[in-house]
Amino acid sequence: MEERNVDKIYNEYVERIVTQGAENETVRIALGRAIAAFRKNRQAALNKYPHTVPLATEVRRIKEYSIEHMHELVDRACESIEENHGHCYKAKDKDEALEIFDRIIGTGKTIVQSKSLTAEEISLRHHLEEKGNEVFETDLGEFITQLLGNRPMHLLAPAINVPREEVAALLEKYTGEKIDHKDITAMVNTVRKILRDKFFKADFGINGANVISADTGSMFIIENEGNARLVTGAPPVEIALIGMEKVVPTLQDAFKTVEVTWRYANYKMPAYLNIISGPSKTGDIEKVITYGAHGPKELHVIFLDNGRSKMAKDKVYREALYCLRCGACLYECPVYEITAGYYGKKYLGGIGTIWDAFTTVGFKESVPMAYTCLRCGRCKKTCPLSIDTPKMVAKLRNDLKKMGYVPAPVRMFAEEILKIAEEQK
């Protein structure tokens, strides 16, 4: 019974990844363009700032220490946030996190959100919409994805599978205005116009973070568009949802981590690096500290566990928590290169399989992704922290096997080998 279920999961996934991914010429065209540009940019960024390479080795050590002391550092970060006049929460799982959001937001509100994989992990936008709120994704790629009714297809470039022609058609439908299908600038201007007033009308801004320092409670958000700056600056209340693995001991560690992140994510320097440690405040009148000067009056920070503690306890899987989400491994994966986000569920690619197994869909549903990875090791070579994804995937396959979750083609192949071996005994 169990095995039939796994086979059904596997077969549906294979059908989807082949027909919607591999056989989709549009995906290939869009990814081809994006990957070529990414590699060229990353080459230029690393050549201009070669110190990033040894710095990445240092960041690996920072992350190793941070994951080892994750709970202690989150506690320290919470103390710092409260000291800065923010509110700090710890959510054990998705339900607890959503409950906290409900308590803060309620219903009938307007919300702007900047790109966050952690929010995607708990399906935050859909939940808030179901509760009667209006939510706008503000990252351009996420906005396109929202309009398409789709899900993100890359960590940094959610609409990577959508070529310009399709974006133009989509925006034409949304605005009712004619847009040149080749003119990317016109498309960007259109989205700017659509979203501009939303930032200032919104009741809440929701953001994630690339890293947060425990000693000062400062979250770092790397971005280029300026939407995160508006999301975290314009609405009266800011809510940050942060995975526990994002915490590092000090402000200095955080600076090192973000520099390695953006450089390996193909940027010489991002347009913006936002550092937020508390709600907006002023002491300009008689040195009396008053909150909510120009930015948000309230800051709420929610740390999400949702399987991270379990991952951290395992010597092999814990490496997945070191991930900086630079997205480079995806661009180097020969399978992702032709299938985009169809290789994954909430998280993507080989490392995403580990994340999905622990934080979103569970082990059984992660079976087909576990058996998509080639274990070729190219991702490890390209990862700034040399995360050993093939080793994690091999362990996951062994663990899945112990749970009885092996898809039919693999099961049959193995049984054939074991039969030959038995005959030869």
């Binding site: 294979v14 990844i17 082949v18 591999a22 056989e23 290939r28 081809g32 590699r39 060229k40 990353r42 080459q43 690393l46 050549n47 070669p50 390479v53 180097e332 020969p334 399978v335 290169e337 032709i338 299938t339 087909p368 058996y371 998509t372 080639l374 274990r375 070729c376 090791g377 190219r378 070579k381 390209t382 091999a394 396959r397 062994n398 899945l400 096997k401 092996v406 898809p407 083609p409 693999v410 192949f413 193995a414 080998i417 074991l418 030959i420 071996a421 030869q424 005994k425």
Partner: protein, 252 residues
């Protein structure tokens, strides 16, 4: 006197690439090397560990060892030679680390040819050949000098590498085998319908821009994927397994 045990015969039959076996036989004949085909092979067994069956591989490793011991006793073989990166890697690294030892060394065909390079007499072979390193052999085990030296020894053969922009980042010190893409040979077993698409894309994006006459892989599993990708993509290029090129270029 050295006597070779050809290891991986059944895998090539399973993957429907009998030309790999034929090439090895012709190669050893031309080299005047005594050889035996390993008949007691547990076909593709080494792949089990990566598929979630590590415990089972540990259990059948003694059966494989016993089969090779029998070949040593009956045929006097002194060395096992395989065209498969996974077999080479398993017996020289993963299984070895667990204490499993074969009675004779297992080498990859590229190593065997490199070690015998002074004996090889080549005729002219005027082809531009792009080399692909099997992932376990190149990226994991670092067997990269051997195949290149062998191909370079063939007169007229022009050797080209797979390009990646990051090879030009000096401080990263990456080499072609670090960044070479896998054409997806394992997909034959784990997700068969995807393999030809992955391999076709690798040929489109990484092989064709280098304008070779032939693409070759140091792993027979990689070769089998390239072959499927070439057929599917109808690329105007030849796909040959490494030792088949060497065999064609050998005098005799």
């Amino acid at each position: 006197m050295e006597k070779v045990l050809i290891y991986g015969w059944g895998s090539s039959e399973h993957l429907n690439v009998p030309e790999v076996n034929e090439g090895l036989v012709n190669l050893f004949k031309k080299m005047k090397v005594d050889y035996v085909i390993h008949e007691d092979e547990v076909t593709c067994a080494e792949g089990l560990s990566g598929l979630g069956y590590s415990d089972e591989l540990n259990q059948i490793a003694p059966v494989i060892i016993k089969g090779i011991e029998k070949a040593v006793k009956e045929h006097g073989v002194t060395i096992a030679v395989t065209p498969y990166a996974a077999s080479y890697y398993a017996w020289n690294f993963t299984l070895k680390d667990k204490g499993f030892e074969l009675p004779i060394p297992m080498v990859h065909i590229v190593q065997y040819l490199y070690d015998n390079l002074p004996r090889l007499k080549f005729k002219e072979y005027k082809k531009r050949v792009l080399i692909h390193d099997g992932c376990r052999l190149g990226r994991y085990a670092g067997v990269v000098k051997e195949p290149r030296e062998v191909l370079k020894a063939i007169p007229g053969l022009e050797l080209v590498e797979i390009y990646h922009p990051e090879l030009e980042v000096g401080v990263r010190n990456l080499k072609p085998w670090d960044t070479s893409p896998c054409p997806g040979g394992w997909l034959e077993i784990i997700m068969q319908p995807l393999m030809k698409h992955v391999a076709k894309n690798v040929i489109d994006r990484y092989v064709m821009p280098q304008k070779p006459d032939i693409v070759t892989s140091t792993c027979a599993n990689g070769y089998h994927a390239f072959k499927a990708g070439q057929e599917f993509g109808k690329h105007d290029i030849e796909v040959k397994y490494f030792s088949n090129i060497v065999e064609e270029a050998l005098e005799g």
